[in-house]
């Protein structure tokens, strides 16, 4: 993920203070997960926009996930059944994000 203007933050509210918000407890019942991987082309604003439009996430949640991709190289962006995750990955590939499915 890249930021055209250089430098990351657009203000304090975008800091991923709630990075632990991604609930991992549900993974036991629904063990498939969609991962988005970092790449140097997709813009930070674009990735945030895609997470909002594809998943219906709030601006805050989408930004937190985008920053996780940016800083940690990857983020789990959705969890569910294998079929649901394959659908999510197809929608993310349609948007040009580097997304994979895996079982945790």
């Amino acid at each position: 993920v890249t930021d055209r203007q250089g430098g990351g933050g657009r203000g304090g509210t975008l800091v991923p203070e709630r990075a632990d918000e991604l609930d991992t407890s549900s993974l036991e019942q629904r063990p498939w997960v969609t991962i988005v991987w970092d790449d140097p082309v997709n813009l930070m604003t674009y990735v945030t926009h895609v997470f909002q439009t594809v998943f219906g996430y709030s601006r805050e949640k989408a930004t937190t996930l985008m920053l996780q991709v940016h800083h940690q190289g990857r983020a789990a962006v959705s969890t569910g059944t294998r079929e649901e995750m394959e659908r999510d990955v197809a929608r993310l590939h349609a948007a040009g994000l580097w997304a994979t499915v895996q079982q945790d």
């Binding site: 250089g6 997709n42 604003t45 674009y46 439009t53």
Partner: protein, 186 residues
């Protein structure tokens, strides 16, 4: 400087200069060529033989680095699952990407002296945003863009080999960035 603006009526207007139109036409044509299958659908398509379904042919990611970036393996550690996903999903995605780029191409004037005036509704703006992203992914993959490309460009002179490609990438990035800002303010 900003190419895209939101108008009072809720539309987004885009103004592209003649050089921007020329660059867009060239890059769109190049990416469309990469995305267009060479030959008629393969009669021995194993999926069609098995299921009778005739899906659009899935691009072969080993044929071109741009294809492997636009259609990445959906499973990192399970090649068989990745291949099944590719055959089922990527043909349709490739067709959609071609349609997006063809729509953009049709909005650009052929006359090299002409500027383009775009009037985009919500879906039209999303289409352009995604199409510009695919162009940046394709060009970025081809020229091996890295995280520090802006510094790289700033340190180059126009005579340097490779300057033009990065300058085009920079312009496409500015266009997409301007459109995303409009959409996010909507």
């Amino acid at each position: 400087m900003r190419n895209f603006r939101r108008t009072g009526s809720g539309l987004i207007t885009g103004r592209l200069s003649p050089p921007e139109v020329a660059v867009l036409r060239t890059v769109i044509d190049e990416v469309l060529e990469i995305l267009t299958p060479d030959a008629a659908p393969d009669e021995t398509d194993p999926l069609a033989a098995m299921t009778g379904m005739h899906l659009p042919p899935a691009p072969d990611p080993s044929a071109h680095p741009v294809l492997s970036r636009l259609f990445p393996a959906a499973y990192r550690e399970d090649p068989a699952a990745a291949e099944a996903f590719r055959l089922l999903a990527h043909g349709e995605l490739a067709a959609a990407k071609r349609e997006t780029l063809t729509t953009m191409r049709a909005a650009l004037p052929e006359d090299p002296e002409s500027r383009a005036e775009l009037r985009l509704d919500g879906p039209g703006a999303e289409l352009w945003m995604r199409g510009l992203n695919d162009l940046r992914l394709a060009l970025g993959t081809s020229i091996g863009i890295g995280p520090d490309w802006e510094e790289q460009l700033a340190g180059m002179s126009e005579d340097d080999p490779g300057w033009f490609a990065i300058a085009v990438y920079d312009r496409l990035t500015a266009l997409q960035s301007s459109l995303i800002d409009c959409l996010d303010r909507g």
